[in-house]
């Protein structure tokens, strides 16, 4: 491994990740075909880091290095279907959930810890995706148990069927309570659920009319949240004919879900959103690029297959995707923790990522977190600096659980300088201006601080500098 670190850094990013031609990138056949490394577009550490940033929350050196040996397709296999005993982990997690019941802050910490420890990070990554898609604010729900069930619901369908997920969402207590859809009298149809259903969860603006919302609300009449339970009161259901999205019939709530799923706009909407989450948020993909995935997705709404297609694709492993997202606060924080193989207080971390704008279980609106450049402003950038500083310090509140020098030594680095190069590879795959990289390493070699500082402190400072670089904020 040491020899690998001695290799000179390549400055040209496009060279590091190979370069696809514009014609290739625009061709759906090429874009969505499985990536096979060749001399022009080699598989390397930069791409392995990319895969783990997008399909997980970053990772440690061992997995990164293993990915290099495994190649892209086997790496994606492992992310989709981990070999570890996921069942046992899930059982353990689910059992510990009773501890947090009753508090939203407990729930968000429990979830963040699950993200840190899980052998199946892609599942949590997709649970986070759906959390932002079906964005439900626990403060408004005011029932931590329901929020917990909501979170489990998202997880149990996260890589399953969007059809089943949507059905479950339409019956979910937390969602109905949050949207104010807990009463649906025949005499006063309530559009609080069906409006976001059409506008945000499925079709998107412009793909439905006000009349569709009105009649869908009538189809939902009869459903109530009563004494903590979802109840159907047949006498409150409007039994007359409704017209929804060109269909006519005496529709029920389930029919509405079925009808919106029959609309091609739904699959397009979800595919575009997932594209933004997994591939790129800088460029709106062309309709030509989206169409084949949307067509395939609409057939059975299999989320897993859609995710798999994206993760294996040429497009995902091209410059079109590489560093084309801003890390959300959770990705930023867990990226540091996972790279340094540490375990930190999830309660504290959940609070700190909330301060950066991502309060788990409390998304700002039903539209979830917009993210991208919106994560960034003066206060949140200062906040990223200060969180990085706190998490790498030896004192409170994180108690110095992350130790870059120990991690570097574990992976064969005997001197601070090689450790510095190792950490640059680990955290950034040396994906920065080589002069800057050299300056950082040089600085470790000749520390400016007191002599009793030692490599431990020096390397903590180095990591702090690296993870607060603009480069590190890109996923």
């Amino acid at each position: 491994m040491a020899s690998q670190l001695e290799k000179p850094h390549t400055s040209d990013r496009s060279e590091r990740i190979g370069s696809a031609t514009a014609a290739e990138l625009a061709d759906p056949g090429w874009a969505w075909a499985a990536y096979e490394p060749d001399a022009r577009r080699p598989w390397n550490l930069a791409l392995a880091g990319h895969v783990y940033r997008r399909a997980a929350f970053g990772t440690g050196w061992e997995q990164l290095h293993q990915a290099l040996l495994d190649g892209p397709q086997r790496t994606v296999d492992k992310l989709l279907r981990p070999q570890a005993d996921v069942e046992a982990f899930n059982r353990r997690c689910d059992e510990s959930e009773s501890i947090v019941a009753g508090s939203l802050d407990g729930l968000r910490a429990w979830w963040l810890r699950r993200m840190m420890e899980t052998p199946h990070p892609l599942l949590e990554k997709m649970t986070l995706f759906w959390h932002s898609h079906f964005a439900t604010n626990g403060d408004a729900v005011d029932n931590a148990r329901w929020m917990q069930e909501h979170n489990q619901l998202l997880r149990s369908h996260a890589l399953g069927s969007f059809n089943s997920l949507l059905q479950a969402i339409s019956r979910d207590l937390a969602v109905l309570q949050w949207l104010g859809a807990d009463t649906n009298h025949k005499a006063a149809p309530n559009d609080s659920f069906v409006r976001p259903l059409m506008e945000t969860f499925t079709l998107g603006p412009g793909h439905f009319a006000e009349d569709d919302v009105r009649d869908a609300a009538r189809a939902f009449t009869g459903w109530f949240v009563l004494r903590g339970q979802l109840r159907y009161l047949p006498q409150e259901h409007d039994e007359t004919v409704k017209h929804i999205l060109g269909r006519e019939g005496n529709f029920t709530a389930d029919d509405v879900v079925r009808i919106v799923l029959e609309q091609p706009a739904t699959a397009h909407m979800v595919v575009r959103k997932l594209y933004r989450w997994l591939i790129s948020e800088t460029e709106e993909p062309s309709e030509m690029l989206i169409a084949p995935l949307a067509g395939s997705f609409a057939r059975d709404y299999d989320v897993s297959r859609l995710v798999e297609t994206m993760l294996r694709s040429n497009l995902f492993l091209s410059q079109q995707s590489y560093r084309q997202r801003v890390k959300c606060p959770v990705e930023f924080a867990l990226g540091v923790v996972n790279a340094l193989e540490g375990m930190v207080s999830a309660t504290q971390l959940a609070q700190d990522v909330a301060g950066l704008g991502q309060d788990l279980c409390r998304p700002p609106t039903v539209k979830g977190w917009t993210g991208g450049r919106y994560w960034i402003n003066t206060a949140t950038l200062v906040g990223r600096h200060n969180l990085a500083s706190a998490i790498l310090q030896t004192g409170k509140p994180y108690d110095g659980k992350l130790d870059p020098w120990t991690v570097a030594q574990k992976h064969g680095c005997g001197a601070p300088e090689s450790a510095a190069r190792f950490l640059l590879e680990l955290l950034l795959q040396s994906d920065l201006d080589p002069d800057v990289g050299d300056a950082l390493v040089q600085d470790v070699r000749t520390p400016k601080t007191d002599s009793d500082d030692g490599p431990g402190a020096t390397l903590r400072r180095l990591v702090y500098t690296v993870v607060t670089l603009p480069e590190y904020q890109l996923a």
Binding site: V326, N386, A439, E471
Partner: protein
């Protein structure tokens, strides 16, 4: 003129330059735009101060000559001799001496009889109306100031345009759909704590547009952090503030105003979380005294601090509460949820004086004072005529500005 200012104006007017304002722009904008240019990047700042729980406006600005006042308030009636007389009809609460000084100095306006056209006596619903700026209440997922921030956001200058300063959960008024609006409890939250010990090279090397955006934002954030640090280090920050939570928060606001880092909107709070300290259904007198004293002393310290530092002309502080209280006390030496109440505006360019008449103490609605000024008119005024931001888009309709600010 800085980016933010331009963007606010652009968002306000839908034009790309001030030159093309023509006759559609309010006079204020045309007159003050050159002034803003002369002041460099010093921009107007709005400080919203929430009085949580429903402040008893009647015992804050007291109509002491109105017989109905004494008649309805057998135990809560404040002794005329102790009031700080504004004129022959009205006086400030005995513990609000500092407000009389502000008033006499022309730094305080009292907008009387402000309220919601659809008054609601439930704390949460009433507060939501004020936060959402919608008397029909609950359809909004965003607060009025959150909507301002969303619309004013520009990737060219990702300043933090609004912050909540205080110890409670961030009020809904600041809830934005897209932009992250931070809560801070001290200036430390705006300062990079750990310096790297060496200069990180400012890189303009290769990289995609997103990286360029982050580089620019990051160097901007570092520079602003240094400005805040300089203010904290400087002697300017040591003005006399009383020892209270609100004073501490307003001092934080003053420091950030001084640092001039692009924050246009500050939100602070008095009364605490939950239902709030102003909700005095029983034994109101002592508690209300303490809160009003804290309010008056803290705001005065803030205003004179900024005055000394020649910052006051660009700052406007506005108070509000979710409702006033019933005219008649309730038999438990307290008052119940009411409706209309006064709002205070403080700053270097408020007109000063009283705005609008005191509401009648006999023409009531469910025992509460009736409003004559829709609170959204006050919002529209501070948006259109102070921040220079088109209010109609935020308020979901056009509201006439009040003539309460100096040009």
């Amino acid at each position: 003129m800085s980016h933010t200012r331009r963007d606010f104006l652009r968002a306000a007017l839908g034009t790309s330059t001030l030159m093309s304002l023509g006759s559609v722009a309010p006079d204020w904008l045309i007159r003050s735009a050159p002034a803003a240019l002369q002041r460099g990047d010093r921009e107007t700042v709005l400080v919203v101060l929430q009085l949580t729980g429903g402040n008893d406006g009647l015992n804050t600005v007291v109509p002491y000559t109105d017989d109905e006042y004494a008649r309805n308030r057998p135990t809560l009636c404040l002794p005329t001799g102790e009031l700080h007389k504004i004129d022959s009809l009205l006086g400030f609460h005995p513990r609000m001496e500092a407000f009389l000084r502000l008033y006499k100095d022309g730094y305080l306006s009292i907008v009387q009889g402000v309220g919601c056209p659809n008054p609601d006596q439930d704390h949460d619903r009433a507060m939501r109306m004020w936060h959402a700026a919608d008397p029909r209440g609950l359809k909004w997922q965003t607060g009025w100031l959150g909507r301002v921030v969303d619309r004013a956001w520009s990737p060219a200058a990702p300043d933090t345009a609004a912050v909540f300063v205080g110890p409670i959960a961030r009020p809904f008024a600041l809830n934005a759909e897209k932009v992250v609006v931070p809560s801070i409890d001290s200036v430390e939250n705006m300062v990079v704590r750990q310096h790297v010990g060496w200069a990180v090279p400012t890189i303009h090397g290769p990289g995609n547009a997103l990286l360029q955006f982050l580089r620019q934002s990051d160097s901007g954030a570092r520079a602003k952090s240094e400005r805040v640090e300089a203010v904290v280090r400087g002697a300017n920050g040591s003005a006399d503030y009383p020892r209270s939570g609100l004073a501490r928060d307003l001092r934080t606001v003053a420091q950030l105003v001084r640092a001039d880092i692009g924050i246009r909107i500050f939100f602070t709070e008095l009364g605490g979380g939950g239902i709030g300290g102003f909700d005095n259904h029983a034994n109101q007198l002592g508690n209300h005294c303490a809160l009003l004293h804290q309010l008056a002393e803290s705001v005065a310290a803030f205003i004179y601090d900024l005055k000394r530092d020649k910052q006051l002309d660009r700052v406007l502080l506005m108070t509000f509460s979710e409702f006033g209280r019933t005219v008649k006390e309730n038999g438990r030496r307290g008052t119940d949820h009411g409706a209309a109440a006064p709002m205070f505006l403080a700053g270097g360019r408020v007109g000063g004086g009283l705005v609008g008449p005191h509401p009648s103490l006999t023409d009531l609605d469910k025992g509460a004072l009736k409003m004559h000024t829709d609170f959204r008119k006050v919002y529209a005024t501070v948006l259109d005529r102070w921040l220079g931001f088109e209010s109609a888009a935020v308020l979901g309709g056009r509201f006439e500005s009040l003539d309460i600010l100096e040009a």
